[in-house]
Symmetry: C2
Subunit: 334 residues, 2 copies
């Protein structure tokens, strides 16, 4: 039996468990060139909110009645694909279900997980969010030693890796997160130089204190007022990496844009968006740096693992309400 979560309706405002429908289907048969995979872990990511909406974006929306899209780590059960050996571990967009068939190409082609890498790690510090951090810094943020890097949603899956890579690159790193536990994680285990609790502190004023020479690289996962606070504190020739806007995804009214974007002119700065999928062909380069960093403990990623595919919708709501700490994933099978 193949347990599945389908997209039942498009959310109005905040996602709700009622946007999903549970179905028990047959396990599919792999066709020529395909493999059948058994999902072990499902990654929960902010981008899922966009995939549930039918606004134009970088990928088509998930259709109503289709299996909800999601990145997974899986084990190959049966294979008609000579490159996917039975029993091996693979990562791919296999969706919110027990079993899936492979077959996508390009960025959708499953990638083999190197021997010895824990399945959960392949969704975390070596997964898509870590690659997002790696490529966004390498290609857009370009932090130089001695520069000040500020990261929003810094305790999250992408932000935590952004900050740790920026530390490795010789930068001063300030993280913005919600609540004292997350802030303690940043300045403790993750080695950030400072943390701002956006729930209890005034972000713009604290950025002014903590970044007296201004922000050289601002990594934006959130949008809204925190993006404006960063824009108000740029150094000259700053780079703003647009990675996400989680504060806006569930807004019922059209969200506001950054009212002070003209600081880009005052500070001769840039704001630039990117997508990790564009760098898929070069992920070997990224992993050549990330794997030793993870092995040596220079990049750590707290994982927040929830048990059971049936709990995926509730876990997604926790993600948007900030009730996760570190990389959020659902264990589907062991």
């Amino acid at each position: 039996m193949n347990r599945q979560w389908l997209l039942a309706s498009r959310p109005q405002g905040m996602v709700s468990p009622e946007n999903f429908e549970w179905r028990e289907a047959d396990v599919p048969e792999p066709g020529e060139g395909q493999a059948l995979v058994r999902n072990l872990y499902l990654s929960l990511d902010p981008a899922m909110r966009g995939w549930m909406s039918d606004a134009p974006s970088y990928v088509p929306p998930v259709g109503i009645g289709e299996v909800m899209r999601g990145g997974c780590v899986a084990r190959v059960e049966r294979s008609n694909d000579p490159e996917l050996a039975e029993g091996s571990l693979v990562a791919g967009m296999f969706g919110w279900q027990d079993y899936a068939l492979t077959g996508g190409e390009g960025p959708l082609r499953p990638s083999r997980i190197p021997d010895g890498v824990e399945p959960a790690l392949a969704l975390g510090a070596l997964g898509m969010t870590a690659l997002t951090a790696y490529w966004g810094l390498a290609e857009i943020g370009k932090p130089q030693p001695g520069e000040t890097v500020v990261v929003s949603a810094a305790a999250g899956a992408t932000g935590s890796v952004v900050g740790q890579i920026a530390k490795i690159r010789g930068c001063r790193v300030i993280g913005i997160a919600g609540g004292p536990e997350k802030c303690a994680l940043l300045t403790g285990e993750l080695g950030f130089d400072g943390a701002i609790d956006y729930r209890s502190e005034k972000v713009a004023a604290r950025l002014r204190e903590l970044c007296p020479d201004g922000i050289d690289v601002y990594w934006d996962n959130v949008g809204g007022e925190i993006l404006e606070a960063a824009l108000a504190n740029l150094a000259m020739h700053a780079r703003i990496v647009i990675c996400g806007a989680i504060s806006q995804y569930n807004a019922e009214t059209p969200p506001g844009g950054p009212r002070n974007y003209m600081n880009l002119l005052v500070k001769r700065s840039r704001m630039e968006g990117f997508l990790v999928f564009d760098y898929a062909a070069r992920n070997g380069e990224a992993l050549a740096e990330l794997v030793p960093w993870v092995t040596e403990g220079k990049v750590r990623q707290p994982a927040d693992v929830r048990d059971g595919l049936e709990n995926a919708p509730a876990a997604l709501l926790d993600l948007f309400e900030g009730r996760n700490s570190g990389k959020l994933m659902v264990r589907i099978a062991s």
Copy 2:
């Protein structure tokens, strides 16, 4: 006698002639290393609205009771500066007055006007706004042959030169301007490939029609809804050059930011601000291209010349209400 316009008060919302005060002062004496210049033409520019405000910006505001700041072309009357010969023509920030003393350094240092260049041209197609167009394209927009370039405030001093340089660079160029006369100027004398009248047409829909492959370079002089219309029609890897936001300068309520800035991510695009002053040391390079273009008629600039220093405040209001066509300047003396 030195007739002067002083800044009397900071505007609330739209600038008003009442923000200025007329004074008749003595002609000053040049000190050691200084020259006394006689202003011939005063340039009127959107940036003046920012200089009148005390919001933090890239230059300090004009103080209340100080002579209003402005770029001028002037003749050297008496000189204690060996580099500024009496009788020669110079351009500089000499202010809204008949006479000024030189003395500034860096970008404020007066620049000599090459022999044979008409004084009005030194404020127009070879002046600061033309250099703004040149450097913003060269360093930020980087248009490639065959790309589509869209310019807002395209009949204005900067926009008209942006479009003509982009044509020289082999691009398809669409201009956005207010009213049928300005649009006819763009597609007629200035050689643009298309024009959109924002007063009578739906800009986003027209951009979709005229730029079916998307906008590669968008030059923003205006902000507001036109910036959003451009963001909604970007090609992949587009560059938005942030040069100004004239639609917002006189807003009484805090202006909105571009609500759809996340299209920067969807289209892997960037939005970047710059200031022409940063390139002052390299203006020789720019003029080496601009002078022949102007001489050969490849870059034309309609000038809108108003007579008399006493009319400067009214002319500035015309600028913000779109009642100029081409480079707006005031003739102070001949």
